[in-house]
């Protein structure tokens, strides 16, 4: 048994029903895309959890570094003017 023969890993994304985004739900090992789709169907949609599946080779995903979380995301914390609730309009038009 050698690790070199292990089937590659695929990340599985499922659209649970029309109108919704595909959402990450897990991973499967498979030799190619067609079999990854088949495995994802068997493993993740046994109760009609989806109407569409994407599979992506795990080694093809570029992810942000968790160590950079503060530097990437914290600067947005003080930009409250990006939210509609920041603006207090005259009562008559405050519903817009």
């Amino acid at each position: 048994m050698s690790t070199r023969n292990e089937w590659p890993l695929w990340e599985v994304f499922i659209r649970s029903r029309a109108g919704l985004d595909h959402k990450h739900c897990g991973s499967v090992h498979a030799p190619d895309g067609a079999l990854a789709l088949q495995a994802a169907r068997d493993v993740y949609t046994r109760r009609q959890e989806g109407v569409s599946i994407w599979v992506v080779r795990a080694d093809q995903i570029i992810a942000s570094d968790p160590g950079q979380k503060a530097e990437l995301f914290d600067p947005m914390e003080d930009k409250v003017y990006r939210h509609p609730t920041f603006y207090q309009l005259p009562d008559d038009v405050n519903h817009i």
Binding site: M1, S2, T3, N5, E6, W7, L9, C25, G26, S27, V28, H29, P31, D32, L35, D42, V43, Y44, R46, R47, A63, D65, P66, G67
Partner: protein
């Protein structure tokens, strides 16, 4: 539980830490204490990683080996309906194993390493799956009691600090309720049947009751790992707490079913608000955990054979994929 062998001492002590690691590890402990989720690429103490790999892979192995006792009855289920239900249940258990292997892999181990550890006997799986399933009532009792015990343990794990494990557990718990209910339903149908059918259910309950209580692992006073695991949010309730919750829940269900739980010491304790129960035979538990249960050898042999028999399929599929990839590059 499915990870009961977590309580077996491993021998290796936590390594000494550098000062930077010390600070990082204090931050980490604080995150766990706040109920933060830890994700795969986050910094984590080596011991946290190791404990989780061990716990999640044991859990995965239990799901996979757990298909074998039930598989024994697929071809002999008494009706098409029961066969379809049993197949669906077993397929779920296979799925549970796969969700969990994938969660463990996010911690840096590989599927092949985990499977090799199981097949070589280094890795453990739940002792309960080393008991035989000689009658159809065993299939009902597994659903009712074995899956019932598993649910007790798994529900608190949905809030485990490690995100990928917690998410796998949420998915699993959603599916487990069907397992326990189909088991109860099967037994309930038999209890409405003939005297012989009722006797068969009672006999199965007699055989499974004590091994099921052992699924929760050693008593708290004898169990390793628990304190650190509790601090890290990997284990939320102790073995004894879970076992007690289980007994309290099952007593009423047994009454409705019309079976007797085989423990003369089992009775309501009004003072504690719980049921007292008799002493567990821990010698039997350790025997089974250490490989000397009724079917340890058969179970492992069946797993290894399935893996070996499937080798040519795995190799052919990979060779085909490689050939297709080469062709599309050439084209």
């Amino acid at each position: 539980m499915y990870t009961q062998a977590m309580d077996i001492p491993e021998g290796n002590k936590a390594p000494l830490q550098s000062i930077e690691q010390g600070t990082a590890s204090a931050d980490f402990d604080a995150r766990c204490a706040q109920g933060d989720f830890i994700e795969a690429k986050d910094w984590m103490p080596e011991q946290y990683r190791k404990t989780l790999v061990r716990q999640i892979s044991q859990h995965a192995h239990s799901e996979i080996v757990g298909m074998l006792p039930e598989g024994n009855w697929v071809t002999r289920a008494p009706s098409l309906k029961r066969k379809a239900i049993l197949l669906a249940k077993i397929q779920d258990e296979g799925g549970h194993g796969l969700y969990l292997y994938a969660a463990a892999e996010t911690l840096g181990t590989s599927r092949d390493e985990m499977i090799e550890a199981l097949h070589s006997g280094r890795a453990k799986y739940s002792s309960i799956f080393n008991y035989p399933t000689p009658t159809w009532a065993d299939i009902g009792v597994i659903g009712w009691l074995v899956d019932g015990a598993a649910i007790m343990n798994q529900v608190p794990l949905c809030r485990c600090s490690y995100g990928p494990y917690a998410r796998a557990m949420i998915r699993i718990c959603r599916e487990e309720s069907f397992h326990q209910r189909q088991g109860f339903d099967l037994l309930h149908a038999m209890m409405q049947g003939t005297e012989a059918q009722r006797a068969m259910v009672q006999e199965a309950v007699n055989r499974w009751w004590w091994p099921v209580l052992m699924m929760f692992g050693p008593e708290d006073k004898d169990s390793q790992h628990s304190e650190q695991s509790a601090k890290w949010g990997i284990k939320r309730l102790s073995n004894d707490e879970l076992r007690q919750k289980f007994v309290d829940a099952i007593v009423e269900q047994a009454r409705v079913l019309g079976v007797t739980l085989p423990d003369p010491d089992l009775k309501w304790n009004a003072e504690h608000g719980h049921h007292d129960f008799g002493a567990i035979n821990w010698q039997e538990f350790w025997n089974v955990v250490n490989g000397h249960g009724p079917l340890n050898k058969e179970r492992l042999a069946a797993r290894v054979q399935a893996w070996d028999d499937g080798a040519w399929v795995r190799e052919a599929a990979l060779a085909h994929a490689n050939k297709q990839a080469t062709r599309s590059v050439a084209a």
